[in-house]
């Protein structure tokens, strides 16, 4: 069922982005992509492009905000940062993720 998998993936990507911004502070799109790949030790290979619709979605929901800035290498880039609602959302989602993975682990463990 490819559609349900896509949905899970989408949700997780949002969570990953929020978490990254939470721990790293304001970052540009490339930075976020690089950071996710680095932390996941390249186990998670994502198409970097799919990040942008996710960023737009999060911004539309008011969880992150964007601002143009200048990168270390003196390049113009759009920086994203977590908003207050975004932080609250991250807590909620992380919690529900924990709960969900615990449940799934338990189910997998028992059967």
């Amino acid at each position: 069922m490819p559609s349900s998998r896509a949905e899970v993936l989408q949700g997780t990507l949002d969570l990953l982005v929020l978490k990254t911004l939470d721990s790293m502070g304001p970052m540009h799109g490339f930075g976020i992509a690089a950071r996710i790949q680095q932390v996941s030790e390249d186990l998670l290979r994502l198409n970097q492009g799919t990040l942008y619709p996710a960023l737009l979605r999060l911004e539309q929901r008011g969880w992150i905000a964007s601002r143009w800035g200048v990168s270390k290498n003196n390049r113009r880039a759009k920086y994203y940062s977590l908003t207050r609602t975004g932080r609250r959302q991250l807590e909620e989602e992380a919690e529900s993720w924990d709960r969900m993975s615990a449940v799934i682990n338990r189910v997998l463990g028992t059967s």
């Binding site: 992509a33 198409n47 799919t50 113009r76």
Partner: protein
């Protein structure tokens, strides 16, 4: 919830900065790819590899952009905007069609808006400046002995106020007038005698000075104070800020101006702009028939009552009826058989609201009809166009457009048309809002105020008309289009047969609808026209040729009774001495003027009234030779002379109807008539005439000599001169007697009579105009259907010709089809008319709502119009070239 709001706002804002956001995304992605490339370079890749690897890791750039674009989109609004843009483009492409459709719809929606603004201004919110009009009701008296409604007396009104708990306030109002002289022409100014609580109870606050105080109700002629209108303050006193405290002569008595009413307040009499208000204690000054504040039998108040919040009209009516019952028991001499009835403002029996009600009802019905006809017509236009666009629609369906989307597209086009028309319609309504004055009889020199109000209710009505008509005219073609059968439509178009096919059926029924609706309007116009002719052919009972009427208001000029009498005699003598003047007479009230006659309870020797009835009869105070001047024939006895003065025995002249009702065939001459406690001897019997309007039934009436009663201002002149010459002569003679006097408007009696039929005449004009318009639209619709049918069936016509049909056969074929449609419409319309003409029953005079002549005329008009509409298509059918038609 908050989140989806957030998303919506984001997307909404995004709609307006689409280009900006697009560039933004471009720049962002470019910067991402650059950074990725640089990172790859730093990792030691070759330049070309670094670029390729960056792109690979990113995925499809265009795909990402498209996803973002989709995500920014606001789905419904986006397609709506797209539809709108497309709709405008399509409509611009056929400007002739668009213009015609918009014009038709403007007519329909505009007339709906205009009439709803009239209804709003006259019936729903007649007094815009008054607070809480919804709780205000009109108070009128009833009498078991006669139908109709009477005014209420001051003592009764005061007792009702005391005896009722469900009311906030009772407001006394009585229209009156005075003459303000300006140069050669006396100018009438309308005013009101009101209770002291008037302004406070209505919630109207004078902009200067104050309203009346409770004490100003009391004491006979004790409080000569007045509140003047904003208009009078501006025009007569040039907005003098120090006006309060100054005096103004009103009816011969100096009145202190104590306040100025706010702009936009015209008093509480529909159709009139009041110029001044005086407290009830001044009633006698403005009413020559005497002091009435202590007379329970004198009914003169046209009052209002304000219900307490939350009280229903039924509860209020129950309470006030009970109070009236107590009055009836306590004062049988004056109140026997009398009750009180409350009316919503728009049904008030005493001001123009009630008069206008039938006309406005017809107007509303007519505009709804016109709107329907217009919708049918535009619907037909759209259908024709839909046929022309069939290929386009088919292609759009074939390349995958959803049928729903096509439907929406067509409805959007319809909405654009009707929205444009609605905007135009409001402009029309704005122009027409003052036309309502035309519906009321003119009154010389008086300022009328009959505004249409354009407010949210009118806007809502127009929007409703716009939406409904869009649905009506847009849906049929839209559904027809959405039913396109791809397979057959993509094949060559099949040729139709005259009148065959489903689409033709829809169009034919639309034409049928138009024909039947216009038929109803034509019948209505015919009925009203005949009724008007009937009214105008009715004899008023006096002879109008050579009869002129005017007025000289001596009370307003400060004359006392004796001086007034002398001046009137001298004026009559001087006028009669002029060449061409046959006879001149004064009367308190001239027939067919708006001013109302006095009414008196009467007693006749030998007449025993039914137990719970108190007969009362209208009368007029007239001068010597009045009947002769008017041309009202005497049946027997004599009329008044100068000898019938205060010193002589009291006399009266009764009319035939009164003689028949109260003397029952006996000769009344010499017997006694008692009215208002005065015993008079009947010295003459006059032929019955009309007193207020031409349609009233013959009714009892009597005359008393002006010299034995109050003086009046009405002047009748029988002369060979025209009104202009006579007006000059009158001014000249009057100035010779007193340079400060000026006569009122001088018109022919015929004009005075005609003014009372203004409502009927306007109704005829309105129905005639719209009926003709409807006929035209129906003919256009019929023409369209027939032309299209003929153009679509050249093959069939050619075949018929080839098989030997002559031109006359084809002519007959097409004509009979068109006339069959018309006949169907006439049958449906006739049936509808039989049911609907009842609604104008109260405007009809001596004409049955099923009058065969009106139906016949409408039938003839319809048939001629239909034949004319079919003739051209039929002629075109006979010109079919069989060879070409069959070859194509």
């Amino acid at each position: 919830m908050r989140e989806s709001c957030c998303v919506f706002i984001h997307r909404l804002v995004g709609l307006f900065r689409r280009r900006h956001l697009e560039d933004d995304l471009d720049a962002e992605l470019r910067s991402h790819l650059e950074m990725a490339r640089e990172a790859n370079l730093r990792r030691g890749m070759a330049a070309e590899d670094a670029r390729r690897e960056a792109l690979r890791a990113f995925g499809g750039v265009e795909q990402v952009k498209e996803t973002c674009r989709d995500q920014r989109r606001l789905p419904p609004i986006d397609t709506v905007l797209q539809d709108l843009r497309f709709g405008f483009r399509i409509l611009r492409r056929s400007p002739g069609f668009s213009l015609l459709a918009v014009l038709c719809l403007t007519l329909g929606i505009g007339s709906t808006a205009a009439v709803s603004s009239w209804i709003e201004g006259i019936l729903l919110r007649p007094f815009p400046a008054v607070a809480h009009q919804d709780r205000l009701m009109a108070v009128a008296g009833t009498n078991r002995a006669e139908p109709g409604f009477s005014d209420v007396s001051w003592p009764d009104f005061a007792d009702l106020q005391k005896g009722c708990r469900l009311f906030d306030s009772f407001i006394v109002d009585r229209i009156t007038g005075t003459t303000l002289s300006t140069g050669e022409r006396a100018e009438r100014a309308a005013g009101s005698i009101v209770s002291a609580n008037y302004f406070e109870a209505l919630g109207v606050h004078p902009i200067l000075g104050r309203g009346f105080e409770p004490a100003e109700d009391l004491g006979r002629n004790a409080h000569p104070v007045t509140v003047i209108s904003y208009q009078m303050w501006k025009e007569r006193f040039h907005s003098d800020p120090g006006i309060v405290g100054r005096t103004q002569m009103l009816n011969g008595m100096p009145h202190t101006i104590i306040g100025v009413a706010p702009p936009g307040f015209y008093g509480t009499f529909v159709g009139w702009a009041m110029q001044f208000w005086v407290p009830a204690s001044m009633q006698e000054t403005f009413d020559p028939t005497g002091y009435k504040l202590e007379d329970r039998g004198a009914r003169w108040i046209e009052g209002f009552a304000r219900l307490k919040a939350g009280v229903t009209p039924e509860q209020a009516q129950a309470e006030i009826s009970a109070a009236a019952k107590r009055l009836e028991a306590d004062y049988p001499a004056t109140n026997r058989g009398r009750g009180i009835k409350l009316f919503p403002l728009w049904q008030a029996p005493f001001n123009n609201a009630g008069t206008l009600l039938p006309t406005l009802r017809i107007a509303l019905l007519v505009v709804v009809f016109v709107l329907l006809i217009v919708c049918a017509n535009v619907s037909n236009l759209l259908l024709v166009r839909a046929l022309g666009r069939r290929h386009e629609m088919t292609v759009r369906l074939a390349v995958g457009a959803g049928r729903g989307r096509l439907l929406r597209q067509l409805l959007t086009e319809g909405l654009i048309l009707s929205a444009m028309a609605a905007a135009g319609g409001l402009v029309v309504a704005y122009w027409c809002r003052d036309l309502l004055v035309l519906l009321l009889p003119m009154r010389g020199g008086l300022t009328m105020h009959l505004p249409g109000e354009i407010d949210w209710r009118v806007l809502a009505a127009s929007t409703g008309a716009c939406l409904i008509s869009t649905l009506l005219f847009g849906l049929v073609p839209a559904i027809q289009t959405s039913k396109i059968d791809l397979a057959s439509a993509l094949k060559a178009e099949s040729r139709g047969v005259v009148g065959g096919g489903r689409r033709a059926l829809v169009r034919s029924s639309l034409v049928l609808l138009q024909v039947s609706l216009s038929f109803v309007l034509l019948v209505g116009a015919g009925l009203l026209l005949q009724s008007l002719r009937g009214v105008q052919n009715t004899s008023p009972g006096f002879s109008t040729p050579g009869l002129l009427t005017s007025s000289v208001d001596l009370v307003a000029a400060g004359y006392d009774e004796q001086r007034a009498r002398n001046l009137q005699d001298e004026l009559v003598d001087r006028l009669q001495a002029l060449g061409g003047v046959e006879s001149v007479a004064f009367a308190r009230i001239m027939p067919f003027s708006y001013r109302s006659y006095s009414s008196a309870p009467i007693a006749v020797d030998g007449y025993e009234p039914p137990p719970d009835e108190q007969p009362s009869v209208d009368y007029d105070e007239v001068g010597p030779a009045y009947l002769a001047t008017m041309g009202i024939p005497l049946v027997s006895g004599r009329e008044f002379t100068r000898a019938d003065d205060a010193a002589a025995p009291l006399v009266a002249v009764v009319n035939e109807a009164m003689a028949a009702q109260y003397w029952r065939g006996k000769d009344p001459l010499g017997s006694r008539l008692q009215a208002k406690g005065r015993r008079m001897q009947v010295v003459g019997v006059a032929k019955a005439s009309k007193y207020r309007n031409l349609t009233e039934p013959p009714k009892p009436f009597f005359y008393v000599p002006m010299r034995q009663s109050a003086a009046g201002q009405g002047l009748a002149i029988r002369a060979s001169q025209g009104p202009e010459a006579m007006a000059k002569a009158l001014v000249r003679e009057l100035h010779a007697l007193d340079a400060n006097l000026a006569p009122g408007e001088l018109i022919t009696m015929q004009e005075q009579v005609d003014r009372t039929t203004a409502v009927q005449r306007v109704a005829v004009k309105m129905l005639g105009l719209f009926g003709g318009l409807a006929l035209l639209l129906a003919a256009i619709g019929l023409y369209g259907v027939m032309s299209y049918a003929v153009s679509q069936s050249t093959r069939e016509l050619g075949l018929r010709m080839a098989l030997g049909a002559g031109a006359s056969d084809l002519l007959r074929l097409v004509m009979s089809h068109g006339l069959a449609l018309t006949a169907g419409g006439v049958v449906v319309g006739g049936a509808a008319a039989l049911g609907l003409t009842r609604l104008i029953g109260d405007l009809l005079y001596k004409v049955s709502p099923r009058d065969p002549l009106a139906f016949g005329t409408a039938l003839v008009a319809m048939t001629i119009a239909a034949a004319a509409a079919c003739l051209l298509p039929a002629w075109r059918a006979t010109r079919t070239d069989p060879v070409r038609a069959l070859r194509d």
